[in-house]
């Protein structure tokens, strides 16, 4: 029998319209920032994609002033129905430029084009569509008869879903009548700046949205600026804690969406083949760079061997490689720094006695790649069961009774998401009620929708984004 090798099916990178330089977006204009320009790198090839100007504290101040002006003079007092028109226009333009955005996202972030094309970009557009619909109905959201906007929102987003997180932050802020100063992640600024182009194309009044690329210092300047009324941060727990400390006592509103160590619980009556799919989707989607990733698999002992065998066969079939290839399932790790962190945590798993299994899939010679890895015989005490790895590494634990499953699932400082796999409806409801997690998926995992609130417990942060509940974070109620 001949082996069937799929021919490479790369998406053309020309579609990304990559420019040699990108500039920050302040007060409706693309302008040179005062900071040292940063080079953004394609993690799949390690080549420099573009040079991006960065902001200084003075630039942050300028952007916040512009946002304040736009808020006072235009956006904050504009009728909701009018704001909705602008937001709908952004949504449609995101759809029109979907292919360009998808390719650019895969180049800059390293995620497979299949995911940027089928998940990131469509969901980003959906967030604008959904929130545009709310703009003139805020009085009917159950948050009081006449909820008011807060003012200027300072927003800092991570590198794992650069465009989607920007949409996730900007859309509700605008719908509720706030203006925005957004800082995209240092390693993935490009799609947020193309979104700024779209916002310019949609003719939004100058200053309503400002995008300031840069490193952590720029983010710190945004969140600590005294004229920012609301801070929204998605990222690491450590940075989140710092921000919370800074804002304590200032009366400014804050929402944090931080790390996670989600449990995916498989009971013995689960639909096993679909549970395997859900586990794969839970931890290998976006190379595991997902704060709500199902990084801890809790499987009932009676089906553990069978499930693990199926899982290994399935994971072996995952195709790791060029993110622009339409047949790639797992792309590149976003940065060398992150790759080193994953490698270090994976070694700790071996050192602490867990059994390591790594897919034998071939990896490209260049770029930052990590083969899908499954640790079995993991115990709650190991670092790989407690710390967020943020990579394609799954830790497998077992349990004997439903109570034990719930106890182990909740035994984490985090609490962002959880998965339950069982054919028994009553057990789904029982377990979901016991779970201390912001999102609980039943017989599925990693499903996102703008209508569903998303957020965490404990060290996973507070506040909700999306849905009716998510509006509250951007309104004075």
């Amino acid at each position: 029998m001949t082996m069937w090798e799929y021919a490479p099916a790369p998406e053309s990178r020309d579609i990304a319209n990559l420019k040699p330089t990108y500039r920050m977006f302040v007060d409706g204009q693309f302008v040179e920032g005062g900071g040292e320009p940063l080079k953004t790198v394609n993690p799949a090839t390690e080549e420099v994609l573009a040079e991006v100007s960065t902001a200084t504290a003075a630039d942050v101040d300028r952007a916040v002033k512009a946002a304040r002006r736009a808020y006072d003079r235009v956006w904050g007092r504009m009728p909701g129905a009018e704001r909705a028109k602008y937001i709908f226009r952004i949504a449609r333009l995101v759809q029109e430029r979907a292919r360009e955005l998808a390719v650019l996202e895969s180049l800059d972030n390293g995620k497979p084009i299949r995911e940027s094309r089928d998940v990131d970009v469509p969901t980003a557009a959906a967030h604008f569509f959904y929130h545009a619909g709310w703009a003139d109905k805020l009085g009917h959201a159950g948050l009081g008869p006449d909820p008011r906007p807060l003012g200027v929102a300072g927003q800092v987003i991570p590198w794992n879903f650069p465009l989607l997180m920007a949409a996730w932050k900007i859309a509700p802020a605008l719908a509720c009548g706030n203006t925005v100063v957004l800082k995209p992640a240092e390693t993935t600024p490009l799609t947020a700046l193309v979104l700024a182009e779209i916002i310019q194309q949609a003719d939004l009044p100058p200053g309503v949205v400002n995008v300031l690329p840069g490193a952590g210092d720029v983010g710190a300047a945004v969140v600590s600026h005294p004229d920012v009324d609301k801070v929204a941060f998605t990222g690491s727990t450590d940075v989140g804690k710092t921000i919370q400390r800074q804002l304590a006592g200032t009366g400014r509103k804050l929402t944090l969406e931080l790390g996670g160590k989600a449990a995916n619980i498989v009971f013995d009556d689960a639909p096993l083949d679909q549970a395997v799919e859900g586990i794969v989707n839970g931890i290998f989607f976006n190379q595991g760079h997902v704060c709500c990733a199902g990084s801890r698999l809790l499987v009932q002992e009676s089906v553990a061997d069978e499930l693990l065998e199926k899982l290994r066969v399935r994971v072996s079939a995952l195709r790791v490689g060029d993110p622009l290839d339409k047949n790639t399932d797992v792309g590149a790790i976003n940065s060398r720094e992150q790759l080193v962190k994953i490698q270090e945590l994976a070694s700790s798993g071996e050192a602490e006695g867990a059994e390591r299994w790594t897919s034998s899939c071939p990896l490209p010679d260049k770029g930052f790649f990590f083969a899908p890895t499954v640790f079995s015989n993991v115990s709650q005490a190991m670092r790989i069961a407690r710390e967020e790895i943020f990579g394609p590494v799954l830790s497998v634990l077992t349990f004997r009774t439903p109570d034990e499953a719930v106890a182990k699932a909740n035994n984490t400082p985090y609490g962002l998401s959880a998965g339950i796999w069982t054919e028994k409806g009553s057990r789904i409801l029982w377990a979901a009620q016991k779970m201390r997690a912001g999102v609980v998926w039943a017989n599925t995992f990693n499903r996102f929708d703008p209508t569903a609130p998303f957020g965490g417990y404990q060290e996973s942060g507070f506040g909700r984004e999306g849905g009716r509940t998510g509006l509250e974070a951007y309104l004075d109620v």
């Binding site: 029998m1 069937w4 679909q274 599925t444």
Partner: protein, 321 residues
């Protein structure tokens, strides 16, 4: 239940499963459930694989070699069967390097004609038997139908299960029928048609697949082609999982045959991707995977020409037999 002639190589757990009606029921209902949303999502996801160039050419030739070229009409004549056999031997007269199809599939009374036309070619003669397509007759008639086809020289028998018995939970009866038809097949390969369009749920598809495998079916086949929906990708996924799991438990390799409604090369390639990634690359052979089709072959031939010649020539460049 009649004394089953199960293969002695069944592991003890599986041998126990077929001991009596109650154990069979317990076993089939103890199989893991199939989540409808999940399996349909996975099928749709795999359907987006981009297969082109060398990979596509390989897939087209593989698919041609897996076709059971089928005519199952009341109006079938010996002439029709003879021209179908000619097409099976040489699918594209202009391109002798095109592989032969796997088998020609006809009604029992046409088997002798097909056998005469295909002698020495290595192409199988498959016949539908057991009161095809409804399966509604006495066991005696079904067995005689089978014997008639086998005596006429059929190398493969496509039987239908009694869906009425299956849906009313009389698994033992369905099991017995398959076992006895398998016995009547002698050396001929047995393909068990589940008629998944009438089974209603994926859980039923999984149970019927296991029932057919336990009873000794060499292949599990989706449909007769006479009921809509016929073959679908998610149903085929479930059946591919069944043969994969069967191999894990017994070491034996059994085949899968989707039939009905697969008309385009694009669709056929989606099925091959599923075979490759759900069951595994070992199944990418006519020994273990077949397409039941009458019109698929022409599209495969047209697409093959398009790949090789760089332009599309149209349906007049392939034969209509």
């Amino acid at each position: 239940m009649a004394a089953p002639t199960t293969s002695p190589s069944l592991p003890p757990a599986l041998a126990d499963a077929v001991r009596d009606d109650a154990s069979l029921r317990r076993f089939l209902h103890g199989l893991p459930g199939v989540d409808q949303v999940g399996v349909e999502q996975r099928a749709a996801g795999l359907g987006t694989r981009s297969i082109k160039k060398a990979a596509k050419l390989w897939a087209i030739d593989a698919a041609i070699g897996m076709v059971d070229l089928t005519t199952l009409e009341g109006a079938d004549t010996p002439g029709k069967v003879r021209s179908l056999a000619a097409k099976a031997r040489r699918p594209d007269p202009d391109n002798p390097d095109v592989p032969k199809v796997a088998a020609v599939c006809v009604y029992p009374d046409m088997v002798a004609t097909a056998v005469g036309e295909l002698r020495g070619t290595g192409i199988g003669v498959a016949s539908v038997a057991t009161a095809f397509p409804s399966g509604r007759s006495s066991l005696k008639v079904k067995l005689e139908d089978t014997a008639f086809a086998v005596e006429a020289g059929a190398t493969e028998i496509d039987m239908v299960i009694d869906r009425g018995a299956f849906l009313s939970g009389r698994y033992g009866q369905v099991f017995d029928e398959i076992v006895q038809v398998k016995h009547a097949c002698g050396d001929a390969h047995l393909k068990v048609i589940l008629e998944t369009g009438e089974l209603a749920t994926y859980d039923n598809v999984r149970r019927a697949s296991w029932l057919a495998l336990l009873a000794g079916g060499d292949f599990i086949k989706t449909s007769t082609g006479k009921v809509s929906p016929a073959a679908t990708l998610p149903v085929t996924h479930v059946m591919l999982q069944a043969v994969r799991d069967w191999r894990t438990q017994t070491g034996q390799l059994r085949g899968v045959k989707p039939a009905g409604g697969i008309r385009s090369t694009k669709d056929a390639i989606k099925y091959l991707v599923a075979v490759h990634e759900v069951a595994g690359p070992e199944w990418l052979t006519a020994e273990l995977f077949r397409f039941g089709a009458s019109t698929l072959l022409n599209d495969l031939l047209m697409q093959r020409r398009t790949q090789l010649e760089g332009h599309y020539s149209g349906p007049d460049y392939v034969t209509v037999d």
